[in-house]
């Protein structure tokens, strides 16, 4: 049985590799939160493989504009030209506006909606359909009628091996409507906002994943334009002894970064305050904070370490004398209990200890990954100041960090 990806790695994991063919997912959001991006992202994940339909209770052109904002217009346009993607325009007729989509129906007409959706599901056998949004259908047709339709569409979808994604704005509907929706969908997830005066951020969580019982686990997320939904890590800490290569690591990893450094007593610059960077990697978006390594800046460590989600500890593999200092810094940052990864830097230099030797010397448990990192093949060594590290190694560190945080 084919399992489909949502296009968001961690969401696939939480949903148990998302959905078997023919199953449905309900995505409900609190009013004010953008959720259509998840729907479009699910379609995008399948766009190269399958045909799919897009059910629109909003104007198709508004949907196209949204897709453009996320940077996906080329793929969607190409799929549309190839006949693999189409809209069901359920609103233009009601507004008296011209329309040119494959299906054009009046959202307030039950029979028309039923026929268009049923036929569309059959059109896209094995594909994905997006209903944006089901709450609008509930408002137009009434809860009972809408639920009857959803039940029917789910049945046809199962026969046709079509996955249906229902977007639903959680207005103040009666509780039993939510219960009925929950029961009829294979999977349920929610996207909600973190509100303090205004919506400061948002998170998603999976509430139901097929027959598997799930523990609600909020995952912070952000929406990139372009880019789409990303799991958001508000703070990753990069720390380690002086001259271990923290700034090099930051600058090699981050999409954009700033380092506060000075040429003090040494001939090359050293960090005197902090490094700040941002990285977009796979389906994650993270802000990274790097500490200085010199002891005279230790008074900053606790503040810099505060509210970190994970820690990357950079050590100089050629200098085991600095390993106790690395452990001391973890303690001073107050991040001992956080998920951490040891970045065994300078592996390309003579005398570098192997990761297992570093693990032994630092007395680390096997639950802490130690990842070897070397300078980039074209880096000119020796260097004054930070140097570019091997990207593949750096990304292995990120993979290990994300696995530590999210499992």
């Amino acid at each position: 049985m084919k399992l489909r990806s949502t296009g968001i790695e961690i969401l696939d994991k939480l949903l148990g590799q998302w959905l078997p063919s023919g199953k449905s997912i309900l995505l409900y959001t609190t009013p004010g939160i953008q959720s259509d991006v998840i729907g479009y992202q699910c379609l995008l994940a399948g766009i190269d493989e399958k045909s799919f339909c897009f059910i629109s209770t909003t104007l198709p052109d508004l949907a196209r504009r949204s897709i453009e904002k996320y940077g996906w217009e080329e793929k969607f346009d190409a799929a549309e030209k190839a006949g693999n993607f189409f809209f069901i325009d359920a609103i233009s007729i009601a507004l008296g506006m011209p329309t040119k989509e494959r299906y054009n129906v009046d959202i307030s007409n039950v029979e028309e909606m039923d026929e268009a959706l049923s036929n569309s599901i059959k059109d896209i056998k094995g594909g994905i359909g997006l209903i944006n949004s089901f709450s609008t259908i509930v408002d137009e047709l009434g809860a009972d009628e809408a639920l009857k339709l959803a039940g029917k569409w789910n049945k046809i979808a199962e026969e046709m091996n079509v996955n249906l994604v229902y977007l639903f704005t959680a207005w103040e509907y009666p509780t039993d409507l939510y219960q009925k929706l929950n029961d009829m969908m294979n999977s349920v997830m929610k996207v909600a906002g973190i509100e303090k005066r205004v919506i400061m951020g948002q998170y998603f969580s999976v509430l139901k994943a097929g027959e598997v019982e799930v523990e609600e686990r909020p995952i912070l997320c952000t929406i990139l334009r372009p880019g789409g939904l990303r799991v958001y890590i508000p703070k990753l800490l990069v720390t380690g002894p002086y001259n271990a290569g923290k700034t090099s690591f930051m600058q090699s990893l981050a999409t954009r970064s700033v380092s506060v450094d000075r040429k003090a007593f040494e001939k090359y610059p050293t960090t005197v305050a902090l490094d700040i960077g941002h990285v977009d990697y796979k389906s994650f978006s993270a802000d990274i904070f790097g500490t200085p390594g010199q002891e005279r800046f230790d008074l900053l460590l606790r503040e810099l370490g505060g509210e970190a989600i994970g820690v990357l500890v950079v050590v100089d593999s050629t200098n085991p004398k600095t390993f106790p200092r690395a452990k001391e810094m973890i303690q001073k940052c107050d991040v001992e209990s956080l998920p951490k990864v040891i970045v065994a830097n300078k592996q390309n230099l003579e005398g570098a200890l192997k990761p297992e030797e570093i693990r032994e010397k630092m007395a680390l448990g096997y639950d802490v990954p130690v990842i070897p990192v070397s300078a980039a093949p074209d880096a000119k060594l020796p260097t004054e100041g930070p140097c570019q590290l091997n990207k593949a190694d750096v990304y292995k560190v990120m993979d290990a960090m994300l696995a530590q945080i999210y499992g």
Partner: protein, 231 residues
Amino acid sequence: MAKIKTGIPGLDEKIDNGFPEGSVIMVYGPPKCGKTIFSTQFFYSGLQEEEPGLYAITGLPLKQLKNMMRELGISPTQYEEKGSVFYIDLFSVQSGRAEDAVDTEIVRNVLPREMTEFMIAFSDGLKKICHNALRVRVVLDGLTEFVEINPEVLKRATKILIAKNKYANATMFLTYTEGTADPRTETLFKSMVDGSIHLDGKGKLVIESMPMTPCPIELNYRITKKGIIVR
């Protein structure tokens, strides 16, 4: 309690120096009685007081609203550049003229019927204007165009809109064209707001209710080239 200037010369002193901060005030009346002019004056006086504003317009395109502002001698450009302004245009999308319905950093185009999209635009706009501002103003001009929506949907959405507004400590100004909805809907609107002002279109302004002010208060008003004044 802090008071928020109304922007209407002669009105503030009648209601103890302005609208209570964080309140929801509705101005209603027949067509062409001055509701939008009142709204723009309220909006602009906020900008002048360093109170950023969100303006949602339903009855005409944003372009036309801005022309009206210019004719009244109101120029929010400098405040737009500072990021103190956010507009939601609920008209232009329906006009079918794509060039008039372009989203920017400070403009969002949505359909009144799409309450979900409107709520998203509203939340985004509120977040932008609340950044670094203790006091903000929100104008929803007007509720009339939402009336076609299912009354249950409208009631639900208005409730959440007002709640978000209060949570953000914004002072909200709503307009509504009298007679466009059934009496129950009109009564519903009045029950959801803190204060209501009626303009009759013939020069009579009645403050029907206002927190901490004995009402009704009957006043005369005039629409001049510079906007509404109260005598």
